[in-house]
């Protein structure tokens, strides 16, 4: 009899554990840790030093020193990346808000990248060509597109993996940039 009681108790026990997990997950969301967010070890660290050729011929190299003095968004993109198309139209809003917009063209043929930008428009202030993806490794690029918001001192303050949506830009990115511009 007692053994049977124990078996009938099992479902409740499993359920209690399950609810514990679910409740804790909700608490994490309340703290701002969304399930699709991949934490970056790069947050609050200085931007890795880099010097990359510009995608546009005749323009000087893009170097990390340029990032000091203004709030910058580094956007890692590629012409082969389908989600990059999703965020592409919204990048102009970021530039409009006075953020210096640097694109890192990641593991991409420069010709294809240029064709892509000719078709969809070029919202970037500077575009660096990271043809072999070495700088991407320094940044810890995980999936394209990826975006890094960098403060005036050149410290990474925010990172997003995946396309920026208008909600991300209006509710997270721009308020944070305004804060950093103070």
């Amino acid at each position: 009899m007692s053994k049977r009681r124990l078996t009938t108790f099992l479902p409740v026990a499993i359920f209690v554990v399950l609810v514990g997990f679910l409740a804790y997950r909700l608490e994490l969301i309340n703290q701002g840790n969304m399930p699709n967010m991949i934490p970056s070890v790069m947050i609050n660290r200085p931007v890795p030093t880099f010097a990359l050729p510009s995608l546009i011929q005749g323009r000087p190299d893009v170097v990390s020193k340029e990032l000091i003095g203004h709030v910058t968004l580094i956007d890692v993109f590629a012409s082969w990346c389908v989600p990059c198309r999703i965020e592409h139209p919204y990048l102009a809003d970021i530039k409009k808000a006075g953020i210096f917009l640097v694109g890192i063209n990641y593991k991409d043929q420069p010709e294809q990248a240029k064709a892509w930008l000719t078709k969809l428009g070029n919202p970037y202030d500077e575009i660096a060509s990271d043809y072999d993806g070495r700088v991407g490794i320094d940044f810890g690029v995980y999936g394209v597109p990826e975006s890094y918001l960098i403060d005036k001192q050149g410290v990474i303050r925010f990172k997003q993996t995946g396309p920026l949506t208008p909600e991300d830009i209006d509710h997270t990115l721009l308020p944070l940039a305004r804060e950093l511009n103070k």
Partner: protein, 663 residues
């Protein structure tokens, strides 16, 4: 004015539900007939009030009343009428209102058709149903009110997500909810039975139609969702093991197990506490799915706007409903005395194995769906669980289920002879063997071994099911008149089972065929180019830009498909850009001959006048949807069985015997 009427009706419904939850329960405990009978007018009133609320919101959508926030966020004047109406449940608030509407609908149906139920059982069942309704109405009123006004009203709305502007998806949620919510009825019956401490054959017979109805709708709803994903996402796939898909599949698995275990309760008066537990689990899975989809606890390709506050409320509901019922189960399960004993090889035995496997499958899907959440909470990193896991674990569990489905129905109750049963299925075994060998001879490639095995399994199930049916219908040489008599005398539930099992066999053929023999061609095509796809020649004739739809502009491609020089079809895949909200969608063009689908998708142009095109030949995919529809239809046929329609169910002779055996 109309939105306020709706809001007010919903508040009244909340109090009616509270009344219906409390008084009939007290009445049943005290034997007070008047208090018990309160449940019937109360459930009618609750339904009427919720219907008014639902009608009010629908009215706001039809008339595009942009003083209502919910309408502004999800509708637009230039949207076709069908999608204005579908917009009612195309968002979180409205879909919860639909949930409550269906809940009330089930309640009032029990009250109308349940005149043969014992008054105490009916009162308790409707009281439990009202408790659920109370929780959900409170949820809508406090966190998700669809009737909120907006002042000043904008001149137009923001429009509905274009992916949802599709006939398949317009009707997908109502069917899905008829399924999800339908399990609440079986749940309420189970709780009522636990309170009474009595589960018997009669109880099983009363619950079965509700479980069956829920299962049919859910089967149909899932198939519809899968079909929608197949033709709108443009990837040529039909199932992605996405958390939202899994959320609907888990209750289906539990519900399927429940349908089979309740048969044992009905016929043999045993497996009672297990059946009760399954009833609780099936509805809890529905609630868990609601939680996962709406709380933002998991990422999915198609989830609602998530809000942790709503998540907390649904979690609280889940704790109250599932936690409460499982506790009650722990306290009361021992009062449910098991009845008839049975040998391992018997109908009961086969149904038990079916239950173990289906439950394990449901558990697997649950684990796979929640695993990323567990890892995240334990701070072990972000992971995602994809099709490889599900295929590796789920398929081995389902293969024995399908194999056993041929054998189970020919085994006799209590004790069966496996050898006799298998001898009756020798034709099915032979047919399966022929199919396996034929496939191995004809098919090539690395997966031919598995393809043959899969098709063999489907043949075994299909032929086995049909043989059993024919043997029952025509046991010996009979005259035409006798044949008609027999065909009428065989219970509808037997026809239903035959259809459902045969339907699954057809689904399996579709799954195996489409995974093994799919052809996929991705390339850049210029006008006039021809690509050969699985024996068809597809020629890109042209792309017409700027084709205007009611609320979108499309680029429409024209492909001419020929086979051996003969014209087969014209395919017009589109890329649409919707105006409100401005989002692109891909509309695949599909030509089907019911054996396979030619499936064409037009992509982006390159600068040199070429277009990226994706062309597929998806063999046997239509069989998946046809098979699922047959399964659902089988369920509906079973629903018309006489034994659910007549007044007092007959006491089973066997049940009485086995009771006296046990003393």
């Amino acid at each position: 004015m109309i939105p306020e009427i709706g809001h007010f009706a919903l508040i009244l419904a909340l109090f009616v539900a509270l009344t219906q939850a409390v008084f009939p329960l007290i009445g049943a405990a005290r034997g007070n007939q008047a208090w018990m009978d309160l449940s019937r007018p109360a459930s009618a009133a609750q339904f009427l009030l919720v219907a008014i609320a639902f009608g009010a919101l629908t009215w706001c959508y039809i008339t595009s009343d942009f003083s209502v926030l919910n309408v502004v966020q999800n509708s637009h004047t230039n949207k076709p009428m069908l999608y204005k109406i579908a917009g009612v449940w195309g968002n979180h608030e409205g879909s919860m209102l639909l949930w409550i509407f269906i809940l009330a609908l089930y309640g009032v149906t029990v009250s109308i058709f349940g005149s043969n139920l014992p008054p105490a059982l009916r009162a308790r069942t409707l009281a439990v149903q009202a408790m659920i309704a109370f929780g959900f109405i409170l949820f809508v009123l406090l966190t998700s009110n669809p009737f909120l006004r907006l002042d000043p009203a904008p001149t137009n709305g923001e429009g509905l997500n274009p992916l949802l502007q599709d006939p398949g998806l317009a009707f997908h949620p109502p069917f899905l909810y008829l399924g999800y919510v339908g399990f609440s009825m079986a749940f309420s019956f189970a709780i009522a039975a636990l309170i009474e401490g009595r589960v018997d054959a009669a109880w099983a017979r009363w619950v079965r139609p509700w479980t069956l109805a829920a299962w049919c709708f859910l089967t149909f709803g899932i198939a519809m969702g899968s079909w929608w994903a197949y033709y709108t996402l443009g990837w040529g796939g039909w199932w992605y093991w996405d958390p939202v898909e899994n959320a609907s599949f888990m209750p289906w698995l539990a519900g399927t197990a429940l349908l089979h275990s309740s048969l044992v309760v009905e016929r043999r008066d045993t497996l009672k506490s297990w059946t009760i537990l399954l009833t609780i689990i099936a509805f809890s899975f529905s609630l868990l799915g609601t939680f996962l989809v709406r709380s933002g606890a998991l990422t999915s390709v198609h989830s609602f706007a998530s809000d942790p506050a709503r998540g907390v409320f649904i979690l609280a509901l889940l704790v109250a409903v599932t936690g409460g019922s499982l506790t009650l189960f722990t306290l009361r399960a021992h009062t449910l005395k098991g009845g008839g004993l049975f040998a391992p090889v018997s109908r009961e035995g086969s149904l038990m194995i079916n239950n173990i496997l289906l439950s394990a499958a449901a558990g697997t899907v649950l684990l796979g769906t929640l695993y990323p959440l567990f890892m995240d909470v334990l701070n072990l990193g972000k992971v995602s669980v994809g099709p490889p896991f599900f295929n590796a674990v789920f398929i081995p569990l389902m293969v024995p289920v399908a194999a056993l489905m041929s054998v189970g129905p020919v085994l006799s109750w209590k004790r069966a002879n496996l050898w006799t049963a298998l001898r009756g299925l020798k034709f099915a075994g032979l047919a399966a063997l022929v199919v396996v060998i034929l496939t191995w001879v004809i098919a090539t490639g690395p997966s031919a071994l598995w393809t043959g095995a899969g098709l063999g399994l489907a043949t075994w199930l299909l032929v086995g099911t049909l043989t059993t049916f024919v043997t029952r219908l025509i046991p010996t040489r009979i005259s035409l008149l006798e044949f008609f008599h027999r065909s009428l005398a065989i219970p509808r539930s037997f026809y239903g089972m035959t259809l459902a099992h045969a339907g699954l066999a057809i689904v399996i053929v579709g799954i195996v065929g489409s995974t093994s023999w799919k052809t996929e061609k991705i390339q850049v095509m210029h006008f006039g180019d021809t690509i050969n796809v699985a024996g068809y020649e597809l020629t890109l004739k042209g792309v017409e830009e700027g084709v205007r739809g009611p609320n979108y502009i499309a680029s429409r491609a024209t492909f001419i498909a020929t086979k051996n020089g003969h014209f087969v079809a014209t395919l017009n895949p589109e890329k649409r850009m919707y105006e409100m909200p401005p989002r692109p969608t891909t509309n695949a063009a599909i030509h089907t001959n019911f054996i396979g689908d030619l499936y064409a998708v037009i992509g982006d142009p390159d600068e040199k006048g070429g277009y990226v095109t994706r062309l597929y030949y998806n063999p046997l995919v239509p069989w998946i949807f046809i098979g699922a529809a047959i399964m659902a239809f089988g369920g509906f046929v079973s629903l018309t069985d006489r034994r659910y329609l007549i007044g007092i169910p007959k006491r089973n002779k066997e049940t009485l015997l086995s009771k006296s055996e046990q003393g």
